[in-house]
Symmetry: C2
């Protein structure tokens, strides 16, 4: 007999979020709690979107990968992406920053300047902050946003809906391999990782026009994130790999490697969303100039299957889960 002592890393981030969800008390003003991209709460005559995310040095980034201002911009974008996935616009930001005592104050200010500039460009203002000493940089961000129309949840996908993705996929994972030194590449090719686009215009348009039945952002990998939609909606999905908009940087890779990066790589911060077929015609107008591609459809079942032109089904590859890697 041995004592079983489960560790965080065995459980995985999602296991813990599931446990966390069990802890949460329900209240009438909390329309959506833990478990979607943002919480939705009702304050007075207004709905608010609330989200928090952290970048940890050595886990999510290395200091050598970008200038401090770039880190600040990225810290805003990865959080704004959660607001985008709910169809909202970010309004207020708080940054809780931990850094070593030896950190250059100019680096910290530059990081915050990058954050503030990126936020301002999207109509969001920094209203609070906190600074603490820690062995490594940890940039924890909270954004408070307002929904543009009915918030886009993960739970609204229905059998027959089409699955869309914005922009291109795999570029961030490819960039991370360059930054980690696993492959050679140009500085430009690292941009998809360093400067993710939060698809705020698209998300807002989808919510305003009530085009999408469900949405999520691709932070952990297409298959895993689409899997969250399936789980929350009680449906399955089929994805056609030949219809995935692969990042240009992947063009010289083998099919298998390209598909792995695009479907399991994560951190592209594009939107994956489902659209009732009746809305598909009007979608071209509603996409707010953002490139989108239809990559599959929602089916009965409970998981995401990758089915190519030859009808072969590939087993979904695992996404990016910080506590498993």
């Amino acid at each position: 007999m041995r004592t079983e002592r489960r560790r965080f890393s065995d459980l995985g981030e999602f296991g813990l979020i599931r446990r966390l969800t069990g802890l949460v008390v329900s209240r009438r003003d909390v329309e959506v709690g833990v478990g979607d991209d943002c919480a939705v709460v009702r304050v007075g005559d207004q709905r608010l979107l609330l989200t928090t995310d952290a970048l940890v040095e050595g886990v999510h980034f290395r200091r050598s990968w970008d200038r401090p201002a770039g880190l600040g911009r990225r810290a805003f974008a990865v959080n704004a992406s959660d607001i985008a996935a709910m169809g909202g616009r970010p309004r207020y930001a708080l940054v809780s920053l931990a850094a070593p005592r030896t950190a250059a104050s100019n680096d910290l200010t530059a990081m915050l300047r990058g954050f503030v500039a990126a936020a301002a460009a999207k109509g969001c203002v920094l209203v609070g902050g906190n600074l603490a000493a820690a062995p490594r940089w940890v940039v924890s961000v909270t954004l408070i946003g307002e929904p543009c129309g009915k918030p886009l949840l993960r739970s609204g996908a229905r059998v027959g809906d089409l699955v869309y993705v914005s922009g291109t996929l795999g570029g961030a994972a490819y960039a991370r391999e360059i930054l980690l030194g696993y492959r050679t590449g140009t500085r430009r090719e690292t941009l998809p990782f360093r400067r993710p686009a939060a698809r705020l215009k698209l998300g807002a348009a989808l919510a305003r026009e009530r085009m999408a039945s469900a949405a999520i952002d691709v932070s952990d990998g297409l298959l895993q994130d689409l899997g969250h939609i399936c789980e929350a909606s009680g449906v399955g999905a089929v994805v056609d790999p030949s219809r995935i908009p692969y990042a240009r940087s992947l063009r010289r890779l083998s099919d298998e490697k390209r598909q792995t990066l695009a479907m399991a790589g994560g951190e592209d911060y594009e939107l994956v969303f489902t659209v009732p077929q009746a809305n598909a015609q009007r979608l071209a107008r509603a996409r707010a100039d953002t490139p989108i591609a239809c990559i599959g459809s929602i089916v009965r079942g409970s998981n995401v299957r990758v089915v190519g032109a030859q009808g072969t089904a590939a087993r979904p590859t695992r996404g990016f889960d910080h506590f498993r890697r």
Copy 2:
């Protein structure tokens, strides 16, 4: 000639917050931005209080000092204290948690359970969370609250106002010395550090009855925090050490040591507030059963002076600034 490269630790936390304040864009819906205990924003027909604070393992706490649930309770209390200092009530909480991959998942869940229980007891609900791997525990909390009346700012103190403090001071600093092994003491004597009271009832009553002209919570030490009121209000203050409500655990210490712990120790999370003399009579009713003591008054000038019965002035001792220690 040598290159000057300022470090975070040279600048101090407050220097950085001052720099940060310079970065912030003003907007009509942001009534109070960075630099008070909370930001105050106007959303629809409602005002919101926003605040964030982090507890870093090895800086703010050691794992051995308390059970995980206690850490969770404390993480809520130190943030709720900022809401109390603005005269508000906490409504929504987000926790961004970083912990080592080897952390026991039960410890993480227990921490969150402690947080959720402490929040629920004050009418606050956990609506969002994030989990990431990091070398040490970092518990970053954001609270969203609602003001009970006009928010209490740091900037409203006027010459002639009386200075009050709630509860007792120095107990948390004394407790920290026990926890650090610098002195012996009972487990009970460590409670002021481990279970700070966020003075939510008092803060709400002061705001509702418009009793106080300014308020702040004692996180960095009485003199430093009262100094923030003085700076923001453009006034000075005089404190009489014989009127300070010293924590019971300090009773066997020398006068000097007792005063140092009570005035510079920090982390008591009591409220320091200023009251126009015209309100002093009514204060007894408005204090919401919380013990309070008048310890001095607001004067012309720009700093906090400690003046004893003998008229001797002691130089203010420095407070707790994480980047200087």
